[in-house]
Point group: C2
Chain length 233, copies 2
DNA sequence: TAGCGCAGTGAACAGCGTTCATCCGGCGAC
DNA sequence: GTCGCCGGATGAACGCTGTTCACTGCGCTA
């Protein structure tokens, strides 16, 4: 069992959350580059070096914030799944809708976690490698739903030895995922990501008044693909 | 006719390109945040304020660089189209392959133009609005190819009055594009973007050893969709 | 040849992340 | 009860950033 936190520990975690709240306020106000240690400290009535008692660097702070945001969007997605009926496909579609809704209502937060890796140092690859990372947990939620769907009504996927071999990391890391599930997870996930990212990043405004019909059409196309047991050659 | 450029003008354009070359060198070395006026000026043996004679701000400089990069990737894509055979579908697939190849071999450049909008000020929406922008020209190249393909062998697209209405900006801006072409352009473009962006941003390394088989499988799926004249309900 | 305009400079301002020496206050040990 | 330690917090400093401003030259043109 965990012993009761001491007074010091309580104060410490309170300060940590206050720092992250300040960071998020700045994020919402001016996007990822607006997050600055000095501004956070100013809002808290502290000085910037004090934050180094809690985070080793600004990058570490934003990484921690990104972790919280991953958890938040995952919780939202899981709530949508639980609120949907018993049909796994309907659940999956509502999960996708919840993901888009969160992204559209939290554009800056989405940009922070789903935009290019912050430092450009390949940190995200290493971060997603271990299953404990919040980002990996979000992906696993979708992957699990797709697995459930496949077990109920198997769908096809393109054959190909090269494809099958390249999927090895995904399949081994999440406990013997079938090839069809692995492929369709990545296909659906990249498709969802592209659609939502282009909407949030304003790369769609020139073509479309409201992206929602396009999103729903894509969702219908995806559902069609998941319903058909035909193997795509 | 245009008169011959004076000596001043020649020097000026030479300096402008030298500045942009320096910016691109920094971009390749450390990603978008590594671009700094002072570093560029240092490399050129100048002082930072001198650059303000050529660009009103750092944002304007990066925007100009982004324009060049858009032109570069568009030229690459067009070259791939011209190098492919006469089959419009084969041409389109090779265009997509060329796009991915450019992105993978120029990750920092791709990040600059396709990542989140630079200033977060919705600049990209306004930029893509007019057809003269390099980014819009890149999109138009793909849109044109899809139009050619459709005129040769019409493909279906999901019906829906809401979808049709939301596509109005795209269809009016590019001269009476059919609804099917408009929808499938956006569907294919967001799909291609999502796949390539996730690869470049290192969001795929945990799942796949080599993203190319996945890319080829997605390309085959897209080709299948473009070949079938069936209307998706 | 005189003057206008443009390229370029150096200093300065405000802000940033980060490091360092220093100080204070609460907690545990003797 | 007092001492010492350790964690929280500070202010100063370094080096970097974008940007502005007054100022100096040089080249072209009239």
């Amino acid at each position: 069992m965990t012993t009761a936190p001491t007074r010091r520990e309580r104060l410490r975690t309170a300060t940590v959350t206050e720092i992250k709240e300040g960071a998020r306020r700045l994020l919402r106000a001016g996007g990822p580059p607006a997050i600055s240690l000095r501004a956070i400290a100013r809002d808290m009535g502290m000085t910037a070096p004090a934050i180094y008692r809690y985070f080793p660097s600004l990058d570490a702070l934003t990484a921690a914030l990104a972790g919280d945001l991953y958890d938040e969007v995952r919780t939202t997605v899981e709530a949508a799944r639980d609120a949907a009926g018993a049909d796994p496909l309907a659940q999956l579609l509502d999960m996708a809708r919840a993901f888009r809704r969160w992204a559209v209502t939290h554009p800056d937060e989405f940009t922070l976690i789903m935009g290019q890796p912050a430092g450009g140092t390949g940190a995200s690859e290493a971060a997603c490698a271990d299953a404990g990372h919040p980002g990996a947990r979000l992906g696993a939620t979708f992957l699990r739903q797709l697995t459930v769907l496949w077990e109920g009504a198997p769908f096809g996927a393109p054959a190909g030895e090269a494809l099958e071999r390249s999927l090895a990391p995904l399949r081994s890391r999440h406990g013997e995922v079938p090839v069809e599930v692995g492929y369709l997870f990545l296909a659906a996930w990249t498709r969802l990501y592209g659609l939502v990212a282009m909407e949030v990043f304003d790369h769609l405004g020139w073509a479309v008044t409201d992206p929602e019909p396009l999103f729903e059409a894509e969702l219908a196309s995806l559902a069609e693909q998941l319903r058909s047991p035909t193997k795509i050659p």
